[in-house]
């Protein structure tokens, strides 16, 4: 019983990270209909950014979220306004899939050249402290990581629901033409959404860097995780990402504990396939889906 609870706790902590890492992917998918295969690169870039800031300037990864977020926001904005926009206007929405895939290959190779192929971890002084919740053990760093993920998700949800910017983003997602007719600059909003998504991915990367080892090659896994989270939870909303992420974390933890640690990927994809066949819109549905 204790083992089950401990596994559940581990799964939920892992799930919180999955949620944060996937929410940007989900936003872009929901608002623009683009499957951004560069997403995992942004996550890993965030982790490398945090590593550099920690090693050379001694900045704590949780504080490094802010500069990393700003830089990746700018990169994401520029990326959408140039390459993604060109690909969609010249070819098709499917072409954006291939283009983001090509860019992911380029960036992964560049990261490999810059940082080497070795697996890296960020180890701040507190990374081995753990606290006891009754008989359950949890690493302090994981708990803080979960907290930070939940706070960022909550902030995003509030921004989307309550602010002028959030309303504009939701409007462009539901009816791009009508939004344009009402005086919104759809192009600019798409760029900003992409920037926001990249910033969130970078922030999640900074947190992931402390909790899990990473390398340039792990970007593929993070992109796929994001996709699975979106399929499980539903497209376009922070709540969907949270549900999908927690579910994925639990699946991962239970499989590793009770079936075999080498079968987690297989189990994740098995659930993905079953989910797509049974309820392709995800548990919470597509938050912008009705009008498409």
């Amino acid at each position: 019983m204790m083992l089950f609870l401990q596994t559940t706790l581990n799964g939920l902590v892992l799930g919180g990270l999955y949620s944060l890492a996937a929410v940007g992917f989900s936003l872009i998918f929901g608002v623009m209909g683009i499957v951004n295969l560069t997403h995992g690169v942004f996550v890993v870039a965030g982790a490398y950014g945090a590593l550099l800031l920690f090693r050379h300037l001694g900045i704590d990864p949780f504080i490094a979220i802010i500069p990393i977020g700003i830089v990746l926001f700018a990169i994401g904005y520029a990326y959408q306004r140039t390459i993604i926009h060109w690909a969609i206007s010249r070819a098709s929405l499917v072409a954006s899939l291939v283009v983001t895939f090509g860019v992911a290959m380029i960036l992964r190779n560049l990261m490999q050249l810059a940082f080497g192929p070795d697996v890296q971890t960020i180890t701040p002084s507190y990374s081995f402290t753990s606290i006891a919740l009754g008989p359950l053990q949890i690493d302090l760093v994981r708990l803080v990581a979960l907290g930070a993920s939940l706070i960022l998700l909550l902030v995003l949800a509030l921004v989307l629901a309550r602010t002028q910017f959030g309303r504009a983003v939701r409007a462009t997602a539901q009816q791009p033409l009508a939004a344009e007719l009402s005086g919104l600059s759809v192009q600019r909003l798409h760029g900003l959404t992409f920037g926001l998504s990249a910033a969130l991915a970078g922030a999640s990367g900074a947190i992931i860097g402390i909790v899990q080892p990473f390398s340039a090659a792990s970007e593929v896994a993070w992109t796929l995780n994001a996709f699975i989270v979106v399929v499980l939870g539903g497209i376009g909303s922070p709540a969907g990402a949270l549900v999908g992420g927690l579910l994925l974390g639990l699946i991962n933890a239970y499989t590793a504990q009770y079936v075999g640690p080498s079968l987690t990927t297989a189990m994740m994809f098995l659930v993905l396939v079953l989910m797509l066949l049974v309820r392709p819109q995800g548990l919470l549905g597509n938050s912008f889906g009705e009008s498409r």
Partner: protein, 323 residues
């Protein structure tokens, strides 16, 4: 092009390719052999991805299933015949297993479209490879082996040159046949607008499954011969993400859904990566990525698409000049 001329050119090309190993050294024979293998894979992927528009991101599953069925059959049941004859039964088994597997997963997976189908196929290949690696009966972790079918006195690279050449020819002829029959037109109709095609009475479900099975069987045969050519292999020798991706990239560069596009794309990409950049292994990914992005932005129809567009526009210009 007129038909007799096309046949004549075909025969000349075949004769040149058949005699080529006499002049090429062992290294270049291997390069061309790898080109045959890759081009045949791209053509097989193209049947489903190019004609029907169902992009599979996990076709390497069938390379692995083909290679492992051939090897496990040989190890558990025994070999029939010696030399090249011993390949016949394992190859049939490999094709059969791949075909059956594809037929079983085709019905549920082909209900999904676009990106969802692509990712689910990626998932299928991941699941199959992990199962092969972790279930001890498959011996994916320790590796399996296939007895060499190369007859004595023949260099292995020459033998596999002709094997892969034959399979490329088979894939080419099947593609040619599909393209000019009702089946091919049905697949194109599915790609362009599946709902309309269904409404107009095209049996979309049946044609899609047939295309999937055909594509899987061809890839499975290629996988089995690839297994023979390496002799001993583990899970990660044959279930390789880059195999899946190369099939797509080669088709994309040459021209998706065309007869010669996958072959041209493979030739161009292999020339760039294996010949021009053979000494810069660490930037292969970068170059491939750059080419993919450039192709999409500059010529979305691939090389063949760009050629036919420029020919059309020059014809149009000529037509304007005439009074």
């Amino acid at each position: 092009m007129k038909k007799p001329l096309a046949i004549l050119i075909g025969i000349v090309v075949l004769a040149v390719l058949a005699l080529l190993p006499l002049w090429l050294g062992p290294f270049y024979t291997r390069v061309v052999q790898f080109f045959f293998f890759s081009a045949a894979l791209a053509l097989s992927w193209n049947i489903l991805g190019g004609f029907a528009g169902y992009w599979s991101f996990g076709h390497t599953a069938f390379i692995g299933i083909g290679a492992f069925s051939a090897a496990l059959f040989g190890m558990n049941v025994g070999t029939f015949g010696t030399g090249p004859v011993s390949m016949i039964v394992p190859l049939l088994v490999a094709g059969l297993v791949c075909g059956l597997f594809a037929a079983v997963i085709a019905y549920p997976t082909l209900r999904l479209r676009g990106i969802y189908f692509a990712i689910v196929m990626l998932g299928v290949s991941q699941v199959v490879s992990e199962l092969v690696n972790n279930i001890s009966w498959f011996q994916g972790g320790v590796g399996v082996f296939l007895t060499s079918p190369v007859p004595s006195g023949v260099a292995p690279e020459d033998f596999y040159y002709y094997m892969f050449g034959g399979l490329l020819l088979l894939a080419f002829l099947i593609t040619l046949l599909i393209k000019h029959t009702r089946f091919g037109y049905a697949l194109l109709a599915i790609r362009e607008d599946e709902d309309t095609a269904m409404m107009l009475g095209v049996a979309t479900e049946r044609y899609k499954i047939l295309a999937f099975v055909l594509s899987a069987v061809l890839v499975g045969l290629l996988g089995a011969v690839y297994g023979y050519s390496v002799g001993y292999f583990t899970t990660y020798t044959v279930f390789r993400l880059d195999f899946s991706l190369n099939m797509i990239v080669f088709c994309l560069i040459g021209g998706i859904g065309t007869l010669f596009g996958p072959i041209i794309g493979t030739a161009v990409m292999l020339f760039i990566t294996q010949v021009l950049l053979s000494r810069f292994l660490d930037i292969h990914l970068l170059i491939t990525g750059l080419i993919v992005v450039a192709i999409i932005l500059l010529m979305p129809g691939g090389i063949l698409g760009a050629l036919s567009r420029s020919r059309r526009s020059s014809l149009a210009r000529k037509a304007e000049v005439q009074p």
